[in-house]
Amino acid sequence: MYFDLALDLFPLLAAALAAVCCGLLGNFLLLRKQSMMGDAISHSVLPGLVIAFLIASTRSPLVMLVGATIAGVVTVVLVEFVKRFGKVEPGAAMGVVFSILFALGVLLIEKAAVRHVDLDAECVLHGQLETLVWYSAPATISGLWSVETLDAIPRQIITLTIILILAIGFVSLLFKELRLASFDPALATTLGFNSTLLHYLLMIFVAAATVASFEAVGSILVIAMLICPGATARLLTDRLRTQIVLSVLIALFTAVGGYFSATIIPGWFGRDTVNAAGSITVFSGLVLSLTIIISPSHGILSRMIRRIRLSSRVALDDLLATMYRAQEQAQAEMSASDISDAILRSKPQPLLNRAVKRALIQRHRGMYSLTEKGQCAARSIVRRHRLWEHYLVDQAGLAPDHVHETAERLEHLPPVPPAGPQTDPQGKVIPDDPQVP
């Protein structure tokens, strides 16, 4: 049994809602290079919660939200204050503000005799997803449609749903303004879109999303969700709108994937389930790491492939150019060892085989020579090389005996220096462009 309505539905729903909510808002923190602000807020709301509880003597979600939101805004103001007047860098300012506020919250819990209610610092860290059990759950999934009362739904899920709807509304209504204020706050302000105001609005939403989420999933998952989905999506696209949509999908995927990893994988090894919030956090980290490696445009792998492709093209270019130059010295055929000496490669065979396969060179009794197609390609490379040499001496004023190395690198690149000269600085003939008959 992989999915038990009574045990799994509410925790999964809460995790997914929290992940999407934080993932959505996290995009803008990332863009402003303020992701750690989410970390700071998620810790420093604690004294806000305790003080709100002390004043109102209730843990009703609304009271808690108000307390947390105020604490969130206070955090942002304090960070700005410390940054400006304490003359410390932004990261340090956030670090000092949130650690002090969090400690204050812990002290308040300890000393203000609120320990008997369950506002404990432990569950702030890893949440209490597993406690969201649905005692009156129907036995089968089809039974869901006949559930008449919504009373059984835990208030965490209701709060999260409301915050998520508000956050989606906020981001879609003010998408353009948030984009402008994140990109160029000065212009936003001169255009009449007060960037400070937008910043605080965003921070209020972050504070609300944080507090609504961490009661269910804990602050570790909140921090991960503020950063990982947005960062993953950023690696996959260069458009903000796409990034936001992708980040929401990724957040949803990691929540579901991470949750089932926690409930199913330990079972394969005969172990009990692990903490779902922790598992989702690890899962989101894995998704991000994987994306860093395999992302088509920004990934390590694709960069590596591009580099390998380039170097293999350069090797081929060099081979053809070498054979062309030998041909100019009336050596139309070269043995594998001649080539090996000329291109400084101890094992030229794979390269030669590749060139033969592409019909650029041909092999006859152990001797290699350029084919018709190879002649054309070689001519164009040598032409580029010698045009570059001419350009570097004539236009850039380099000494004629210094330009070979530079031209050797430039010849593989797309730009071609202007045609015209007939010979290079050493007096060698610059071959005609094979494309122009």
Binding site: L31, L180, S182, A186, T190, L191, G192, D238, L240, Q243
Partner: protein, 245 residues
């Protein structure tokens, strides 16, 4: 107008009345307060005292008639937007709060990109553009604001020759259509060629007026011949007393 950073005055008693329909250069050494001057005119930095008026009105009443090109380094060019997105930002005030960027505005933005010779790059992500191209995108964004008065902060800084030509051509077209442009400029040689008026700035206005009258060796020497030691010391002293040290 006097402007202060952290209580330390960086611009003293700047008094300048910009003539309409002219290209105006602000020149002065590093740290003379050129950018500060522009930013405080636009209300981005609070001024310690004084008054800035545009056509006899305070800035917030005439926002839509004033365009601004910040320094290129002031933004993160890795931001996930295209050149067209950036130019559309110039039209946000026209579009208004909470309303999406419509096709009409995109077409207008494309026309602005055309004017700076960047139409072919509209869909490029901005980090894939060269420095000069990025500067032209910023210029196109200012054009999209369709303002009457423009402030530009070092638009010629570190650009290639093609971009410099494109920018100066746009500036001249702006002037021909009756606009006024105030430009922070760092290349003294090109001032007489490009501009009609000049403000020589070094913590205060050393001289201002038509280039032919004001742009003289004596005035330049006064502007660039080191800071006024006494004025710098006074600024430091004010900073100390005001912050209570």
């Amino acid at each position: 107008m006097t402007v202060a950073y952290h209580k330390k005055p960086v611009l003293w008693d700047v008094d300048y009345d910009a003539p309409a329909n002219k290209l105006i250069a602000i020149v002065g050494p590093n740290g003379a307060g050129k950018s500060t001057f522009i930013k405080s005119c636009l209300g981005l930095i609070p001024k310690a005292s004084g008054l800035v008026e545009f056509w006899g009105q305070p800035y917030r009443k005439v926002r839509s008639r004033i365009g601004y090109v910040p320094q290129r380094e002031s933004v993160d060019w890795d931001f996930p937007v295209s050149a067209l997105d950036v130019v559309c930002m110039g039209r946000y005030r026209r579009i208004g709060w909470c309303r999406p960027v419509t096709r009409k505005h995109k077409v207008a933005a494309l026309d602005c990109l055309e004017l700076v010779g960047m139409r072919d790059f509209a869909n490029r992500q901005i980090s894939q553009l060269s420095g000069g191209q990025q500067q032209r995108v910023f210029l196109a964004r200012a054009l999209a604001q369709q303002a009457e008065l423009y402030f530009m902060d070092e638009p010629f800084a570190g650009v290639d020759a093609a971009t410099e030509r494109a920018i100066i051509q746009v500036l001249r077209e702006l002037k021909n259509s009756g606009k006024t442009v105030i430009v922070v400029h760092h290349d003294l040689q090109s001032v007489p060629e490009y501009f009609d008026e000049v403000i020589l700035l070094n913590m205060r206005v050393v001289a201002s007026g038509p280039v032919g009258e004001v742009f003289t060796e004596t005035n330049l020497h006064k502007t660039y011949g080191g800071r006024l030691t006494l004025l710098s010391e006074a600024a430091e002293a004010i900073a100390r007393t005001e912050s209570g040290v």
